[in-house]
Structures are given as C-alpha cells and as structure tokens.
Amino acid sequence: MRKDIILCGVGGQGTVLASRLISAAAMARELPVMSAETIGMAQRGGSVFSHLRIGGDADCPMIAKGEADLILGFEPGEAVRMLPYLKPEGQVVVSSRAVMPVTAALSGADYRAETMLDYLKAQVRNLVIVPTEKALAEVGSAKVLNLILLGAAVRSGALGFSEEEMRQAVLTRIPAKFHELNLRALEWAK
C-alpha cells in the first residue's frame, strides 16, 4: 500500500494525535511510515499541518503538490489552503466548523465556513463534510473532533485502514480512561 495523507487545522485541534494514530496503524501492519508536522510558535493558534507518507518508495516525509490521496481537514479554510496538495481523484474529509482567527474578530472581516465548503464542493469530487456541531453534541465532548474525522476517513475508504485497525491504534496509543470516549467518537460516522 502507498498512501500520502495530509492532516491540517489550527494549532490545538488535535491533528498531531490523529497523525500518530494513523502511523501506529501503519506500523502495526509493518508498513514504512514517514511524517512531518508543525511544531513551535505556529502551534499557538496558527495554521498547522501534518504530512504522512505510508508505504515504501519515499525519500522525504513531505508531500508534494498534487500527491495527497487524502486530506483530513479539521477546519474548512485550512482544507482549502492544503487543496493544491490533493491528487486529481483524491479524497477530502472536512469538518464543517470554521475556527475564527483573532484577526477576523478584530477587523470585523468576514470569514464563513460556507464560502470554504462551497469552494470545496466545486473543486473536489470525493468530498465528505462532517457536521461537527452535531457530531460533537452526539458524542458528548468538544475534544474529540480528531477521532470523529478519523472515523469518517475510515468510512470514505481513502484512509486505507479498517475501523478495527484504528480501534487497536486507539487502544495502544491513548490512556485507558479515554478509550470509551475516543472509540465512541471513532464510531460516530457509522
């Protein structure tokens, strides 16, 4: 298997953990993995990304434009920002909820999720929009967007790992007291 996956969002949304879970699933299958992500100042509310390259035949952990099989967007605008990296027939799984930048709140500039989602709908054939508010309310926690998106990615088929493989990754990589909540989030999209 060869998969190039980009996770993107805003610092603090949990992209890194989601990236680790996919890596763990790949390692469990003994596939070579490389990844690269934003660490440092940009984590304080800036745009963040994680590149994941699974399977052999790669020399560099970074993904080039037009190469990603899957973009997992934790925020609509950030998914649009990363869209040039998507393959022509690639899959996008995106959260419906916008995260307002402080600059927009200050200047009163208009930033709306709908504008970004409309652009994605026009550009991407394989698009799954996760209704984030509804999903978080049903799972009962504001902190599990990453597992909800992972679950949706599993069901899109583009992740390349089964729900059982992701369950195992959760069980091995996340402390036991959070298992029940995270597994519920993973299964939300069923």
């Binding site: 100042m41 560099c60 200050l106």
Partner: protein, 606 residues
C-alpha cells in the same frame, strides 16, 4: 536491531544512548528541544541529564565531562551556539578525551528563530568536523559515528540537523539494548600542559588542527556519508549533475523521481569538505546545480575545488540566481528548479483560485497571563512617552494587535540593554524591558547588574509563568525541579534582584487587573532600576477549568473586550460578543474590563 517510528530528534537521542552517552546537557530551543527530553525519558541509570541555565554553561559542562573521558552531548538551537561560542571556540583548540557531540539544530525559513545562520559555516569557523543528516535514520547513525570520530581525533564534533530533520518522523532501524556501547569514563587526569589554554599551546594545537582537518577531508571522501549516485535512464552519463546535503538531499532524491535521475553528489560532512570525492564527481560534469538550504556552503566549496583542481565545471546555485537565497526549500521548489534547469516545462496548476483564506498569525493562548501583564502596563502608561523592549519567548507575541506592546526584540536578554540605552539617550522616556522567567536566568542577570552599576533608569518586567513555555515547558532554576527528577530549592527571582541592589521589587498577579495597573503606575515613577514580577502560571500547564459566560441581554455590542485584548476565545457575532468555551480558561480579564459587567464567571480576580 528492530524498527521504531521516531522523530528525528528522538532518533538522535536514542543514537546517543546507543553510543553510551554519559552526560547530556543543553538549553531548550526549537527545533532542538526534544533531543534532551528524549534522553531524559529513556536514560540508563548512570546517565546524567540537565537543562542548564544557558548554552554557554551547558557547553562548559559537556566539555568538562569530555575532559574526564565521558561521552557527552550538548544540545541547542543555532541561536544558542552564538551564546556557547566562547567555550566552543576554545574547546576546539584544547580538544577532548571522551567523545563530545555538539548538537545544533538549524532552522531554515526561519520558522521559529531570529536568524537563518548556518552552523556548517560555524563548523568551518571553529575548525570542527560536522555531520549533516538528511533524515531520522541518518541522524541516528551519524550521532554514533560522531562520538567515535570525536574520540578518535580528540575533537568536539558538530551534528547539525535542520527543522525538518529534527521534527520529521520515520520508521527507522535502531539497536537493541544489548548492542549499546558501554562507556566507563576514566576520570579527569591532571595535565596542565593539556587542559590549560595558553597562547603557546594554542599555536601548537592550531598546527595540529589544520593537519588533522586535511586528513579528515580524505576520511570523509572515503566515507559512505559522502557519495555519488550515477545518472539513470536517459540521464545515465549526463554531464549535468546536482550536489546536495542535509534535508535538501531528500527533496533532491524525490525531484529525481519526477524530473529525471541526474547524477547526484550527496554531502554528509560539509566540513572538512570531502574534496577528493567532490573532484571525482566534478570531473565528469559540465554543470552542477547545488541544492541546499541557508548559506551556499556546498556551492562555495565546489567552486573552490574547481579552482584547486583546475576544473571548468560551472557551479550553479544560490550565488547564480538558480536557487532562492533565503527561506526553506520544498519538494515543489526543488522539483521546479530541477525541471527549469533541465529545460523541462513547468508543472501546471489548474484549480480555480480559492476564496481569500484566513490569516492566522500565532497569538498568545486564551487565558495567557502575559496578555494580562501587557494590558496592565499598557493601561498604566497610557499617554506617557514609553518604550517597551521585548525579548525571546511566548511573550514576543505581545507584539500582535491589539496589544501592540513589543517595540523591540533582538535576542535573549537584549531588551534590558536596549532599554538602558534609550534611557541614557532620552531621559524623558519611561523605559520597560519585558523578560520571561527562563530568559531571566539564561541571560538577563548581567543586564540588571550593568544597569544598577551604571545608574540606568528603567522598569524590568519579569513575566513569571513558572516554566519555559515556548519550547514546550522545560524546568529552569526558578521551577524547583530538575531533569533528574529531583525537587530542589527554587532560585528566587526576587532575591536575585534584591541581591543585585534593585530596591523596588513588586510581585503581583497580572490577572488582578486593577491591582496590576496600580502597581505599574506606582513602580514606574520611581528612579533607577525597579522590577515588577508578574506571577501567574502558564495556562497550558495549569489547565484552569474556569469559563466565563456572556449575558447577551446585558452585552451592548461595544466590542471593547475584543478590541482591547485580542483573546482568541472571544468573537463577535455581528451584534454581541461570544466566548468559545473550548478555548476559554476563565482568566476573567475580559470580565474585568467590560463596561456593563456582561461577562461573569471564571476565576475571581477582581
């Protein structure tokens, strides 16, 4: 041997442990920090680990350990090497007994640094061999080779990853514990002719160092770290080739897949430069494109080799405008440069232009006490002639609108010097220097001594959040815990300042806004050097569970809370202010400034 998925910095740490490292010290700095943290997490019982107060001290400790025959590693970012350059330059002349690896992480971009300086240059300036890894596996292998080389030649050796090497992850092959080297230090052996630096000794050692480096150039020419890949397919026997090193080598390898497998020279030891290997490559080439980040180090060396060996090969790169002179390379930029140079058409982008994207500059976290500290000083000094000198840390982000409270930022501790200078030149200006707690210990204390002695007048504001926040919460002398897990007496910032002779030292909670403003007003008026310590823990560590709520009935939509403090948890829905409960920590700064008391809850500070 087994496979593990490791970050480049983790790989370096694990490689050092496999090499039997006895002592690791350093000062935190992105992108180097995780090296020492990983050693601390995985250290064998008899390995000593510490976060030192700054890089100079760390370099001296690591050097001392190597004097005693220990294998030692000192870690820092490239800016830190400037601080540590005094002991390093001298260590270069004195040499070591045990292996000493100087881990310096460079930051092309720069992503989290003040400069784009290139440690490969520093290596040649200091006359020290350097390893330049292209990924996590090579970093793991190179750190072990660096220890061996250091011991064999009695010299410190630099290992220089860049951000993408340090922070990239890969599944790599690592040793099992049974395969680790076990190093038992011999101990310090008294030998004044060896360990006491004097002009005569430096002269003698200088001769030896130059001779050794000529030898190392040949050693590196024969090392698999410096290799030639022949051209493939249509490009077999091509007289155009590329030269690369560091993380750019991984971009170059990928670009060869897309644009054609041209012959490639990979440099893993940029100093002493493997001249013979380079000459072997250049002899078959009419033209060579250099793909590297930061300075044109390989490019200059190749031009030198051409001159020395009488070769006519044209060397292209940053100095000829074929590659960008600043910033990071990317997969796409390297592929595009290679295609253009090979005369291939550029790859097309066909997608419709996206709508305007949100700009997301990094900001102080919701609930960050620095926001409250800056706001208190701003309110207290309104209408007065002031200068606010910032420093290095999360609090550099106090420059952002709407706080706009950082007039200068240079390097660790420099705000104190700048504030003193402005005071001497413009006595009617009220000068402030803001410094974090970790930065205070690392590099602000001499600045305070200088100001007190030389009769400067300014207000020192210590932003004490009880951690080194920006780099991921490392302990420092004010936190009362060490990397060896000991609970120790805190070094008191108050007592340090009092000991120096600062007569006014006020400690106040910045989240109590009225009291904070009053303290600033009262303190700033006093003559001489005076200090305010804003003491409140970093919210990322303390994780306060409070939340404020906004009463939509009472909110008049004046947007004062948004305009004044720029908290990322606050937004405006067009009519009323709203708070994001996922981000709010209940610091209550916003509720303290709301003119109609529409915001309630959170901590009771006012």
């Amino acid at each position: 041997m087994h496979q593990e998925f490791l970050m480049g910095n983790e790989a370096i740490a694990r490689g050092a442990i496999a090499a039997g490292v006895n002592l690791v010290c350093g000062y935190p700095g992105t992108p180097s920090t995780e090296v020492l943290e990983t050693v601390a997490k995985n250290r064998p019982e008899d390995t000593y680990v510490e976060w030192s107060v700054n890089e100079k001290t760390a370099m001296e400790i690591a050097g001392g350990a190597a004097y005693a025959g220990a294998r030692a590693m000192v870690t820092m970012k490239q800016m830190g090497l400037n601080v540590a350059s005094d002991p390093l330059m001298c260590l270069s002349y004195i040499g070591v007994k045990g292996g000493l690896v100087v881990l310096v992480a460079d930051d092309p971009g720069p992503i989290s640094s003040q400069t784009e300086q290139d440690t490969r240059h520093f290596a040649s300036f200091a006359k020290l061999p350097v390893f330049d890894p292209s990924g996590a596996q090579e970093a793991y292998d190179m750190v072990q080779e660096a220890f061996e080389l250091s011991e064999k030649y009695g010299t410190p050796v630099i290992l220089r990853p860049t951000t993408r090497v340090s922070h990239g992850y890969a599944s790599i092959t690592v040793k099992d514990p049974e395969e680790y080297v076990k190093n038992v230090p011999e101990g310090f052996v008294r030998d004044t002719g060896r360990w006491v630096i004097f002009p005569r000794l430096s002269y003698q050692n200088h001769i030896k160092i130059e001779k050794r480096n000529r030898e190392l150039s040949d050693v590196f020419s024969d090392s698999p770290r410096n290799y030639i890949l022949p051209g493939e397919g249509e490009l077999a026997g091509s007289r155009k080739g590329i030269a690369t090193g560091g993380f750019s080598a991984s971009y170059a390898l990928e670009a060869r897949r897309k644009a054609g497998a041209v012959p490639m020279l990979k440099i893993g030891n940029p100093f002493p430069f493997p001249e013979k290997k380079a000459a072997e490559f250049l002899r078959g080439m009419d033209e060579v494109l250099c793909i590297e980040e930061l300075d044109p180090v390989i490019e200059r060396e190749l031009i030198y080799v051409c001159g020395k060996y009488g070769l006519k090969t044209r060397i292209l790169g940053k100095m000829t405008g074929h590659m960008p002179t600043a910033g990071e390379n990317t997969r796409d930029s390297v592929t595009a440069a290679l295609r253009a140079w090979l005369g291939l058409p550029a790859e097309e982008q066909t997608a419709a232009a996206p709508p305007p994207l949100p700009v997301r500059p990094p900001v102080l976290c919701a609930g960050c006490p620095h926001r409250a500290s800056f706001y208190a000083v701003k309110q207290a000094m309104k209408g007065k002639k002031t200068i606010f000198c910032g420093d290095i840390g999360c609090y550099t982000l106090g420059n952002a609108q709407p706080l706009d409270m950082v007039d200068t930022c240079l390097c660790m501790g420099a705000g104190l010097g700048i504030a003193q200078a402005i005071d001497h030149l413009e006595p009617d200006t009220s000068c402030f220097a803001f410094v974090g707690d970790s930065t205070f210990f690392a590099s602000a204390i001499p600045g305070v001594v200088n100001a007190v002695y030389n009769q400067a007048s300014f207000t020192l504001v210590v932003l004490d959040n009880s951690t080194t926040a920006m780099t991921g919460h490392q302990p420092h002398p004010g936190t009362g815990r060490t990397m060896m897990g000991q609970i120790v007496d805190r070094v008191s910032i108050e007592k340090v300042l009092e000991g120096i002779g600062v007569e006014t030292v006020e400690t106040v909670d910045p989240l109590d806004h009225a009291k904070a403003v009053e303290t600033v007003k009262r303190t700033a008026e006093k003559p001489g050097v005076k200090a305010i310590i804003f003491c409140s823990p970093c919210v990322v560590l303390a994780k306060p569970q409070g939340r404020v709520t906004i009463d939509a009935e009472k909110c008049i939509g004046c947007r004062k809370c948004i305009r004044e403090i720029g908290c990322p948890a606050l937004s405006f829905d067009g009519k009323k202010a709203a708070v994001d409960p996922a981000q709010c920590t209940g610091c209550s700064l916003c509720s303290q400034l709301c003119p109609v008391k529409a915001i309630s809850g959170g901590e009771a500070h006012a």
